[in-house]
């Protein structure tokens, strides 16, 4: 693969899963600004989930299974499939180990059908901006063009992130939702939860995954570190509860949930974990959310009931 010239790629495809959600909107704009046409797999739906169950390793976590299914969907849709090797998205922190082998797994699974384009993203070594520049030059683009594309991509990501609901009115009480970005941004997975919360007229927010750096704590996984940091700085007066949305079989969450539980117990903030798997059980989800919100005596719910 390394021997061939890459400048003749006219289109690039990528799965709408996992790392894609870590940089919302960024990669599309980057490649498009470079003049490539971009194919992103369709949003997760029932068919994706079914395909994931059929083709992916049963012991994988849900996001990784979905990644496999999305990847399967875009193979052959463009000249090349792009999968970065995400080693870290935050300085002094590391990504989940499963992300480190993604390009290699893609080559192992689909290498015969499509070339795989990859770039290391390791914030400990260089910023994602520099990674994009390197990718551009590897693809044979001129420095100026790459630089403009990278800038456009970063600002697009910023806009996208700002559009997400991360802040609420100053006076409101709220629930903090903990979830990896790829759970949060995958509507198929998270929408039932948010829909239910909104239906109960509950205010909620989630940690700022776009932050540049955080104080180094005991948790070294990037997104989990951000969650931990948010919990440490949590205002017990206003945050009435923490809901942790975790994917089935998520290895990182299995550890940090215990840590969070201990931490929030000390802070005396109620904490609930919701494990989502590929088998829908929406009724159970609703019940648990309702019960949790009720148990806290959420005033809005009471108001609505009257």
């Amino acid at each position: 693969m390394s021997g061939s010239k890459r400048t003749d790629y006219r289109s690039v495809a990528m799965p709408r899963a996992l790392w894609y959600h870590l940089y919302p909107g960024m990669w599309e704009v980057f490649f498009r600004s470079l003049g490539l046409s971009v194919v992103v797999s369709a949003k997760t739906d029932r068919a994706t989930v079914e395909r994931a169950a059929l083709i992916s390793e049963p012991e994988h976590c849900l996001p990784l299974k979905l990644h496999d299914a999305h990847l399967h969907g875009v193979v052959g849709a463009a000249d090349v499939v792009f999968i970065p090797r995400v080693l870290s998205t935050l300085t002094e922190h590391i990504a989940c180990p499963k992300l480190g082998s993604l390009p290699d797994c893609a080559v192992a699974q689909f290498g015969d059908e499509t070339p795989i384009l990859t770039i290391d993203i390791d914030e400990n070594k260089r910023s994602v901006h520099r990674s994009m520049l390197e990718l551009g030059s590897e693809l044979g683009f001129r420095r100026n063009a790459t630089r403009a594309a990278a800038a456009a991509a970063l600002s697009a990501m910023k806009t996208e992130r700002n559009g997400l609901k991360t802040c609420i009115d100053r006076e409101d009480d709220y629930f903090l939702i903990l979830a990896h970005p790829y759970i949060l941004h995958d509507a198929y997975v998270s929408a039932p939860v948010f829909g239910k919360l909104d239906a109960m007229n509950v205010k909620w927010l989630f940690p700022d995954y776009g932050c540049e750096s955080i104080e180094s704590g005991p948790i070294k996984w990037d997104a989990c570190g951000i969650m931990h940091d948010a919990l440490l700085r949590l205002d017990a007066g206003r945050c009435v509860g923490v809901i942790h949305l975790s994917a089935f079989n998520c290895g990182c969450d299995s550890i940090v949930m215990e840590v969070f539980r201990g931490l929030l117990w000390e802070k005396n903030i109620p904490y609930m974990t919701l494990v989502i798997d590929e088998h829908e059980g929406r009724a159970g989800l609703d019940t648990r959310l309702e019960a949790f919100v009720d148990s806290i005596g959420w005033r809005n719910t009471l108001d609505n009931a009257v």
Partner: protein, 325 residues
Amino acid sequence: MEKQGYLGIDVGSISTNLVMISEDGGVLFQAYTRVDGDPIESIQKALSAMRDVLPEGFRVCGAGVTGSARYLIGGVIGADVVKNEISAHARAAIHLHPDVKTIFEIGGQDSKVTVVRDGVVVDFAMNLVCAAGTGSFLDSQAKRLNISIEELGEKALLSDTPTAIAGRCTVFAESDMIHKQQAGHRQEDIIMGLCHAMVRNFLNNVCTGKDIESPVVLQGGISANKGIRRAFESMLGSRPIVPRYNMVMGAYGAALIASDAGVRRTSYRGYEVCDLRIITSSFICSDCENRCEIVEVSDRREALARSGGRCRKWEGRVTKPGPPG
């Protein structure tokens, strides 16, 4: 009538099966017994039934045992060959259908897929802990619906729009099924939905990453179920072959393996097995820190076979001086 043959026994979690084959591999006798408690007792019953069918002076040249209790039973009856069920099932399927490429074997508590190429097993997988892709899944749902498992198969065929039933494991599927019942779905659609759920779980949990190619042979206790056959057909796009001796393929394979083994002098105890007064006891092995429980089967005072423990030193027949019966 043949004068000699080979015996095969499959001691599974749900059934105990027994097959006697002639030297050219034809089935002379077969018995499928649902186990309710003691597998040895059902073997004794099956053996006495066989005595009535086979001619006087019939000689057993070799005996093979397979199934989850293979070491213990192998010791009790004096088997010449003790084989794992994957190989035994594959042996029988390849014998009956030499062109088979994939074998689905779904039993009471486990399910397996075996990949065969050119008449040789090249890959296999077994279900892990979960019972969702096994026969017990249907059993428990049938119980819940208050119908027999045979009825369940018949009723499933009446369905034209199967209900989608979600759920990885029996418990979740059950709650979803109740939900669907409450929502007013027709019973036959729910039943067919259950069959689909079982097959889907089997394909998702067990067959992931395996090269599934036709012709597919479907065997094991579940293969008698018409609903399951239909579900496999619709999901695979081709009709799976259900072999002639679909319920006793493990025992059949064990008998074939015994006949392959070239046994010179069998150690099989013969009908003497029927007269054994079996006493099962157990003791704790204190040779290492695991302190495993070892099951011992004895006839009156004499120990016949032992099984259990994490190391394999207790497995099998209790060797004693003197020729076996």
